[in-house]
């Protein structure tokens, strides 16, 4: 927008910081892979993923006897696990990402607002959070099933509402502390509106912690989503999600471990990648810590010996 709005570190520098960090690079590659499979997976493999073969059920993984599609084995209806994994990524992400993002965005904005203004706004917000927290979220889910139609939007809604207090409370606590800082006072003297102060001064400090929590929430939401399926408001077969695959595979964990383990692994790997990226971003976005990412490896060793 303006020269002031351009990032303090140019895009090239971000790339350099990212490339310096091997773990973060791997994480980015994995997340991109997942995103790509969510985007085009269902187009390419949609049919393969639902094609049953009752004569070839529970084929173990890592064998090419049945073709590459069965590299990760087949499930209890003889469908290609690999294809299902890829196709399921779309549903999984289209539920988990909005749910986490909605709860993160709503919770953190609300929390920062409440903490910034203190007073009754803070009190009311915290009590609302208490109410949501003490409310059994499953009940909410069941009610949604009964009163509204079970749709992806409603699933996201239920999951998001249940998670909002987590972010609300954390954001409120930090924001309440930050609003008394001198640099916030300084911003006030320019006539900066409270929302702008929240966006400029409060959010950058508060968000890293929340991002950390949010990335770990991913797996939580993915798994919770599957439990809604059992009440009839989650993903319904023949649609598939990783959570649902894990949950169904749970029954056969002992006889055909791969049916539950691969989707579970997909969840773990995605979540861990997101966390790795989040902790990289935490360092990269904090000017006080960013230099740590610029250390070449050898240098770091020397420093450690000395310290």
């Amino acid at each position: 927008m303006t020269s002031v709005d351009t990032p303090a570190v140019s895009r090239a520098t971000w790339w350099r910081l990212l490339l310096r960090d091997r773990f973060a690079c791997v994480a980015v590659v994995i997340l991109l892979l997942v995103a790509v499979s969510a985007l085009i997976g269902p187009l390419l493999l949609g049919d393969l993923a639902v094609k049953q073969n009752l004569r070839a059920v529970n084929r173990p993984p890592f064998s090419l006897d049945d073709g590459w599609a069965f590299l990760l084995g087949s499930d209890s209806l003889g469908r290609s696990l690999l294809a299902r994994l890829i196709v399921a990524s779309r549903t999984t992400l289209s539920v988990a990402v909005p749910a986490v993002v909605v709860s993160l965005v709503v919770g953190s904005i609300w929390g920062m607002w409440a903490g910034y203004h203190r007073g009754w706004r803070e009190n009311v917000s915290m009590r609302v959070a208490d109410v949501i927290l003490s409310f059994p979220s499953l009940l909410l889910a069941v009610v949604v099933l009964y009163v509204f139609s079970p749709s992806a939007g409603n699933i996201v809604l239920v999951l998001a509402i249940a998670r909002i207090p987590i972010y609300l409370r954390a954001a409120r606590a930090e924001s309440a502390e930050l609003q008394s800082r001198l640099f916030v006072d300084a911003a006030r003297t320019f006539g900066t509106k409270s929302w702008a102060i929240i966006a400029r001064h409060v959010a950058p400090t508060v968000l890293p912690t929340l991002f950390t929590v949010a990335t770990l929430d991913f797996c939580f939401v993915m798994l919770t989503e599957s439990s809604l399926s059992f009440l009839g408001i989650g993903i319904q077969p023949p649609d598939m999600s990783w959570g649902l695959m894990v949950a169904q595979g749970r029954q056969v964990l002992q006889s055909a471990w791969w049916i539950a383990v691969f989707p579970g692994l997909a969840i773990v790997v995605t979540t861990v990648s997101a966390t790795v990226l989040a902790s990289w971003a935490r360092l990269a976005m904090d000017p006080g810590q960013r230099w740590r990412l610029t250390l070449p490896r050898s240098r770091r060793k020397i420093k450690e010996v000395r310290a």
């Binding site: 009752l54 059920v57 209890s76 079970p150 399926s229 009839g232 023949p238 169904q248 029954q251």
Partner: protein, 493 residues
């Protein structure tokens, strides 16, 4: 396993004399008049309490229990002669008053007795004690199978609350409740004053675990002697024992709504389902493809009915014909499934969906939890539901088709969404008949249903699995799910 450090109860002598059973769920209550509920009945029935009569699950014959004999005085009147010298666990004597009290309590509406609806379903009856050992029971309408129905009424002493349910009942059974540590375990002990043969185990300890694989693991690690309600995948290994569990899985076709109101479509559905494939893959070979809801050994079973053959070509042809005749075969049909109704319930429905779509229908699945599913199972049905196929399972505990036909196929039946007057007539004829006649009448009704109504697609008679440790011998039978007699368990060797 030598190194096991699991909870080893008390002295090893006592341990050896206790049978440890792990159930899928805690009995919500031990109330005898709820004994028709699986979770309650399998602990209570024939262990803590007993009924006047009992049905032999292998032969289907009715045997004397607390009643030694009975006779029908008139179509609506029965006389029971009761066993003498029977004592309740609290020391009171069992007599006709207790029996009459129990029957009143069960059919009176003060206590929401599950038995009341389950076996009597609105039939009015009065019981009177003639003397200590004689009981007279009158029914409002003729009821040829009253003694069978009474095998579900577990006798309690007259001191039992007539207005509320009791969690820990007193009965006449071979075991009495020693300690119910709610939430954790339930311990039964041999009742020394039992009238019959003393059972071999001095006590029984029930615990409950929701996860099948844990139940199986408990038997393997010698924390339990017997685990019930297992699925093939639970990993019971050598200790697994299979038994036909009296249940039959089927799809109820909502024949009132298009396109399912067309007979050809319903027939096509039956042709399209590959029952053998289903049993072989999804049910892991456990179960037997079936053509009717009533299994062998139940009065009314028709030997004429064979499972529908898997014939996709025929199914496609029928659908095409129906379509040509203007039946809206593209209308979306919903399979209403219930999670956990039997192992791999969702997968089974996916197989069905796959086949039906291939046959030319348009089918989607909705898997529900029990209560939501019940809305579809029972009247009044949800108004705005389109054409549905309901995933269901039926078990006839009583061994008489009367317990199946009316409620499932009768046009007013609680679970019936469709019926025909002809079928209704055939069913009521069966209900009135007795003896050999009853068998033929019900079989005729079933044949008719299968040929001309095709209200459902029966899939398979199911097989149950339990795990049994080497320390205990027990032969499960068709009734095991609902009635697990401790007296039939014996220490091995």
């Amino acid at each position: 396993s030598v190194a096991n450090s699991g909870p080893e109860p008390k002295a090893s002598g006592a341990a050896a004399n206790t049978v440890r059973i792990v159930l899928p769920e805690e009995p919500p209550t031990l109330e005898p008049c709820d004994a028709s509920l699986t979770a309650t009945g399998r602990v209570t029935r024939a262990n803590i309490t007993e009924a006047l009569t009992e049905r032999d699950p292998s032969t289907g014959q009715l045997q004397p229990a607390l009643a030694t004999e009975w006779k029908q005085d008139s179509p609506t009147e029965w006389t029971f002669t009761l066993r003498k010298g029977v004592k309740f666990h609290d020391g009171t004597t069992f007599d006709a008053k207790a029996a009459a009290f129990t029957i009143d309590r069960a059919v009176g509406a003060k206590v929401d007795c599950n038995v009341n609806g389950y076996v009597f379903g609105g039939i009015k009856l009065t019981a009177t004690a003639v003397d200590d050992a004689t009981l007279k029971v009158k029914t409002a309408k003729p009821d040829p199978i009253l003694p069978l129905r009474l095998s579900f009424v577990e006798i309690v002493p007259a001191t039992t609350s007539a207005t509320g349910k009791v969690r820990e009942p007193v009965g006449t059974g071979p075991y009495k409740i020693a300690k119910w540590d709610a939430g954790r375990s339930l311990r039964l002990e041999r009742f020394t004053g039992y009238w019959g043969k003393a059972p071999e185990f001095a006590s029984a300890e029930y615990v409950w675990r929701g996860e099948g694989s844990i139940r199986a693991a408990m038997v393997k690690s010698d924390e339990a002697d017997l685990a019930v309600g297992l699925a093939p995948e639970d990993g019971a290994g050598d200790s697994a024992v299979q038994f036909p569990n009296n249940e039959t899985s089927y799809l109820r076709i909502d024949a009132a709504k298009p396109p399912l109101n067309d007979l050809r479509v319903r027939q096509a559905i039956n042709y399209a389902i590959d029952k053998d494939g289903l049993v072989a893959s999804v049910f892991a070979g456990l179960g037997k493809p079936a053509g009717q809801l009533v299994p062998e050994g139940v009065t009314g079973h028709s030997t004429a009915i064979q499972p529908w053959p898997f014939d996709m070509a025929q199914a496609k042809k029928l659908i095409a014909e129906a379509k040509a005749a203007g039946v809206p075969t593209d209308t979306a049909i919903t399979i209403i499934g219930r999670n956990g109704i039997y192992p791999k319930a969702a997968e089974a429905m996916e197989v069905v969906q796959n086949s039906l779509n291939e046959a030319g229908l348009s089918v989607k699945i909705q898997m529900l939890d029990v209560n939501a599913w019940l809305e579809y199972l029972l009247r009044p049905f949800p108004k705005d539901a389109g054409p549905t196929l309901l995933q269901a399972q039926h078990g006839n505990q009583a061994g008489d088709a009367a317990f199946t036909m009316g409620q499932i196929y009768g046009s007013k039946g609680a679970q019936s969404s469709f019926g025909t007057p002809e079928l209704d007539d055939l069913i009521s004829a069966g209900e009135q008949a007795s003896g050999e006649e009853r068998q033929t009448a019900f079989a005729k009704a079933l044949d008719y249903q299968n040929k001309d109504v095709v209200r459902d697609a029966v899939m398979a008679h199911m097989t149950g699995i339990l795990a049994l440790s080497k320390k205990v011998t027990y032969k499960p039978n068709a009734a095991t799910n609902d009635e697990m007699r401790l007296a039939e368990m014996h220490p091995a060797g």
